[in-house]
């Protein structure tokens, strides 16, 4: 039923106009106050092997999914910066570093293809289904394996320390940087 609706919608739009149009079906724009310190690409590879009376088709695709690590600046309070003007030091407690998914490549890169007999190449719908399977698998993997987020947030913390130490140093202060704990309420991971 869903497919029929999409096909009907598709036919209607194809017949009605051939100009490039990008009117949104749904749009959500939100203001945020994120300071991003690191990003990471995770490559996923999918192999598809199909065989029947008419031949065999074997194809491998890969694509990247992106994550980033940030702190929410809106939760940084004046109390989180403790200046000591005599010693020229400052103790900074930054908000927790949060990791989130930011999207994936628009293209499934064809790594390998072998088609025999009367079989044709995989079409776009089949490739999209493969990517959907890989996407679900990756989200589960990120959920179950803390290594991905831990690696990214560690890199982000190092960068954040370096950055804040540098800007306070240019202002004549020696900074020591800490981070607040990452409680479940602060975990906005898109999974």
């Amino acid at each position: 039923m869903k497919h029929l609706t999409f096909c009907a919608l598709g036919l209607l739009l194809l017949c009605s106009c051939s100009n490039n149009d990008n009117t949104g079906l749904y749009q959500e724009i939100k203001s945020v106050d994120k300071m991003v310190f690191a990003s990471m690409a995770i490559t996923k590879t999918v192999l598809n092997d199909q065989e029947n009376l008419f031949g065999r088709r074997y194809a491998a695709y890969s694509y990247d999914t992106y994550m980033r690590a940030y702190i929410d600046l809106s939760s940084l309070q004046m109390d989180d910066l403790q200046f000591d003007d005599n010693d020229k030091t400052v103790r900074v407690t930054l908000p927790p570093v949060v990791a989130e998914l930011t999207g994936r490549d628009i293209e499934m890169r064809e790594v390998y293809k072998n088609t025999t007999g009367l079989r044709g190449d995989l079409d776009e719908k089949e490739i999209a289904q493969l990517q959907e399977q890989a996407n679900s698998d990756l989200k589960k993997e990120i959920e179950e394996n803390p290594m991905f987020k831990a690696h990214l947030t560690d890199v982000a913390k190092r960068k954040a320390r370096k950055y804040f130490e540098s800007i306070f140093e240019s202002n004549g202060y020696t900074a020591s940087i800490d981070f607040k704990d990452n409680t479940p309420n602060n975990d906005n991971d898109e999974n």
């Binding site: 990008n22 079906l25 945020v32 106050d33 490559t43 999918v46 192999l47 628009i106 990756l138 990214l152």
Partner: protein
């Protein structure tokens, strides 16, 4: 003669059922490899707008009319690692840098649904080559970027970026900070008009 026709028809039907059963009994395996970290980058970027778009994408490419529905996830950010800062006695003046717009396909479920394609040479609905859909999606991303400028989203991101940067730097410098914006409508606005 009539019996022969009936027998022939029966043979064709049985053969057809056989071929159908044999072909439908195909082996299909999908193997999904484990995710591998392929790149890690560091940066200092201030992100002021996050967005999620679900757009119908349609276009004519190489005599094919293509149509699909895509969910895009993106953000508008500013590289604040190397800011232009002028520190006076009373006020610190900072210039807001150019915006960075990133748009990817979302990782939400069903973020890409190729719906239909038509071959304009034969005027038939047919399966278009996969690479044409990639070009379709690339054009759609560019269209979405242009819309961010036209709808004033980039201008809003810059305004909020200036406010946020001012608030952060006032905490750091402990004196008034003024953030000046040389291109309030967007540093790359002209490219997308």
């Amino acid at each position: 003669m009539r019996i022969k026709s009936i027998i022939l028809l029966a043979v064709i039907i049985v053969a057809g059922i056989g071929v159908y059963l044999f072909s439908s009994n195909s082996k299909s395996n999908v193997l999904i490899g484990k995710g591998q970290i392929s790149k890690v980058e560091t940066m200092v970027q201030l992100c002021t707008i996050d967005f999620l778009n679900e757009v119908p994408v349609k276009d004519t490419i190489d005599n094919w009319e293509l149509f699909g529905i895509q969910k895009q996830r993106g953000s508008v950010s500013f590289d604040i690692e190397n800011l232009k800062v002028e520190s006076g006695n009373d006020t610190v003046i900072i210039e807001l840098p150019a915006e960075i717009i990133e748009i990817n396909e979302s990782t939400d479920d069903n973020s890409w649904q190729p719906v239909d394609s038509k071959d304009l040479r034969t005027l038939r609905i047919a399966k278009a080559p996969a690479e044409l859909y990639t070009r379709l999606k690339q054009k759609s991303i560019e269209n979405s970027k242009a819309q961010l400028y036209q709808n004033g989203v980039v201008a809003r991101a810059r305004k909020e970026g200036a406010q946020s940067l001012q608030a952060l730097m006032e905490k750091v410098y402990r004196k008034p900070v003024k953030v000046v914006d040389p291109t309030p409508e967007g540093a790359h606005c002209d490219e997308y008009q």
